[in-house]
Symmetry: D2
Subunit: 255 residues, 4 copies
């Protein structure tokens, strides 16, 4: 399991969310409270949008609490739409190519959860990836595989449909191959203009997902960044949350 | 704070202690129970003696739970006297040169604790190090500094005296410079033939230290490796434990 | 392109070949003489056999000339059959999972060369890997893919046939998909008892491969470790070299 | 020895100098032409000024040619005053704290060269560092030591005098201690407003140093970034080059 956050709104320095809050993402890398494991020390990553057509990416295998580069970058990089992720491996290696966020063109993707019995279904799911996205696969995680499937299933054309189809395809393959562990899928996507977060599970235990809207920004997080608990709203299980560039928010069922 | 273990006895594969016990050192890197912080993810190290005149050393900045090299090395390296250490930084950087154990000639040293208000006294303590050992200082930790002081103060000639003198020198300098935080010093030394462990603090809270003797070996640890709690004995505060090559054990007051 | 060496014979410390010769493998990591690129700084690896049923493995993303752990391990590990490899990436990422040697059960494999137009044929070749070996694939290199194909094509039953079949399969797929760059394949395999080295190319430029037999050992290398040039013999293009445990040597055509 | 570049002028993306030129700094990390060693693979670093009061810093132990983070950061970070450095160690460890540039408050410093017989004089030079700067010393290089000396000797008050005094102090100490190797010192300093580059040696072989002025910027480099050789001017041996914020240039003797 992992912890992540996403920000959309008026540009801020990344440290404002990554380091400064009482229960910042870096704090969560040591002491997550709503995750199966408190420690998220198997690498981390930043992805951010600026004036360039594709997002910036900084991914590292050290723990997030431990990296002076992260501190300096978060102090100097300002963005109006960014992702940050701290990783707790569910089995695959700790390498930069297995760290989130993943990117393809203008898209960013990050994930908390897992495909149950991943080794059972990995190969057949990989065979469904379109060549153009298969070539871009650099690591071995189930998370990157899910992202490749979404791209294959029409993310650029119809994101909501691509998400739904990906969930169906993964769950169907798990069923066919006899997977007994659940599919847990709490993830975040962006095309650089809007943010889409997903909270889904094949059983009744989707990982936690919260959001908070203020005048000039929306934050979506695995768990709240501070103790103002009534300011954070949970996303309903098996729902997606869309945050448009003008901060309009909508929620709909994943399936 | 950190966690460490030391083994002396019939040669065994390092994994026997580093990975296999229920509360192995690698398990302690994620879930230490008797330390101020449960996570010891700021690097780790192995030091071991074999037929070579100086010990082998493997130190890495990744968390111990995260390193396939450590798993393979601990599976393949067998030793009759070895050290293993998982680090939780008390302020200095995460670099290999700051990871324990430290070595000099045939000596190994590792430490759990800290010199209180280290920045206050670092410089004047460093000035006391003899040139020959100053040159060998590679990192910036208080732990390596303590080791250099012990070497300066006659470790090769009279280890017990060198330990006592080092404690006196550190505590005196802390007093002179007005340090208000305590000196916590639970450490382990070896010359390749015997093991000497120290449990000391300038206040009444020396970090934990345990040992267990079996027929063919002695283990000294920050905290027990398993739940056979009556088999582990605590070293008394402000005492050193000596384990000779024939597994004879003696304990004496540090000061 | 990469540089590698393999040793079989009376046990020696690894440093004897990795560091000590005038043109040692570590020296070759900075100044290879018979390779397209002089610098082999994109990671390295050691694989060695001892009393354990499977080989030890140490792989790192730093340059080999730069790693104090490598120096200490090579000083302390002794083996009668080992591999060492310094990597120059031909496009894939620098991660430990992309470093050689690769291992599977008792097998070790390392490679210098490349599958021409790898992105064209990667996917269809990966589809030929048997499930059991596909699961073991951790990285994204063409080298590891070749190893998986050899395992699939009967390495355990008939190594010479598996090598020949792998070359045929790779070259056929390259032809079918219209690859225009050549297949360059100079590699080394071991089951822990004997060593098999391959020097092959689909054009007339197979990477260099040499060997030298002394009373108590045989060394197989990408390029000679010293300037006693008449003591090193080149393996003929498109031939494999077999070195048995008793140091018997035979050479035969790959196809 | 190392290679470095410094830019002052209209803001540009860092990749414009770090990656794009024919003989870019990253190209120089593999194939330096005017250095004793062609390979500068022992870490690298970026330092850049933006709207924040202190500069950003990204330092890494991997070779520069090998780091996807560097590529992304150089594509996304834009600055009107930045430093970039690729390192070839002259003996000290490869750790981030030994990578250039070094920073203190608003200052950046980077260096190519070395204090001859460094172990002979290291300690006595370190003793001259003022406490406030000694505390900030994180690594063990002669380069960082020189920076600490310049800060001690009044860099903030009178940079030219601080440089001259530092050279005198280092050369005097080398003489006193009987150092026989030369002091080579080609370095660059900035306070965020102007750039000061130094080309000095105690013998007649100061490392190379060039600059080029265009309408909207000045570049200072270890060696030219392209083959327009008549556009690059060499700084005279034992001279410093000052580039003001308005791109006014002046040169004066170091001593």
């Amino acid at each position: 399991m992992c912890r992540w956050l996403s920000y959309i709104g008026d540009p801020v320095y990344l440290e404002k969310l990554v380091f400064e809050p009482r229960h910042s993402l870096v704090e969560q890398s040591l002491h997550a409270e709503q995750a199966k494991t408190p420690t998220n020390g198997d690498g981390f990553g930043l992805g951010w949008y600026d004036e360039r057509p594709t997002p910036g990416l900084y991914r590292e295998i050290l723990p997030a609490w431990n990296d002076p580069n992260l501190r300096s970058l978060a102090h100097h990089i300002r963005s109006g739409l960014f992702f940050a992720h701290v990783r707790a491996s569910t089995g695959t290696h700790t390498s930069r190519t297995n760290c989130h966020p993943f990117s393809n063109g203008q898209y960013l993707f990050m994930h908390n959860g897992q495909i149950g019995d991943y080794p059972l279904v990995r190969r057949s799911l990989e065979m469904m990836i379109e060549d153009e996205f298969y070539e871009g696969r650099q690591g071995s995680t189930d998370s990157e595989l899910i992202f490749c499937l979404m791209l294959t299933l029409g993310l650029q054309q119809d994101p909501h449909r691509a998400i739904r189809r990906t969930i169906e395809v993964v769950e169907n393959e798990m069923k066919v191959r006899g997977a007994t562990s659940p599919f847990r899928f709490t993830a975040c996507l962006s095309n650089g203009k809007s943010v889409c977060a997903i909270r889904h599970a094949s059983d009744d235990k989707p990982p936690s997902l919260y959001w908070r809207k203020r005048d000039d920004h929306v934050i979506v997080v695995s768990e709240p960044l501070d103790t103002e608990s009534d300011s954070w709203k949970a996303v309903a299980p098996n729902h997606t949350l869309h945050v448009e560039g003008d901060l309009t928010i909508s929620e709909e069922a994943t399936l």
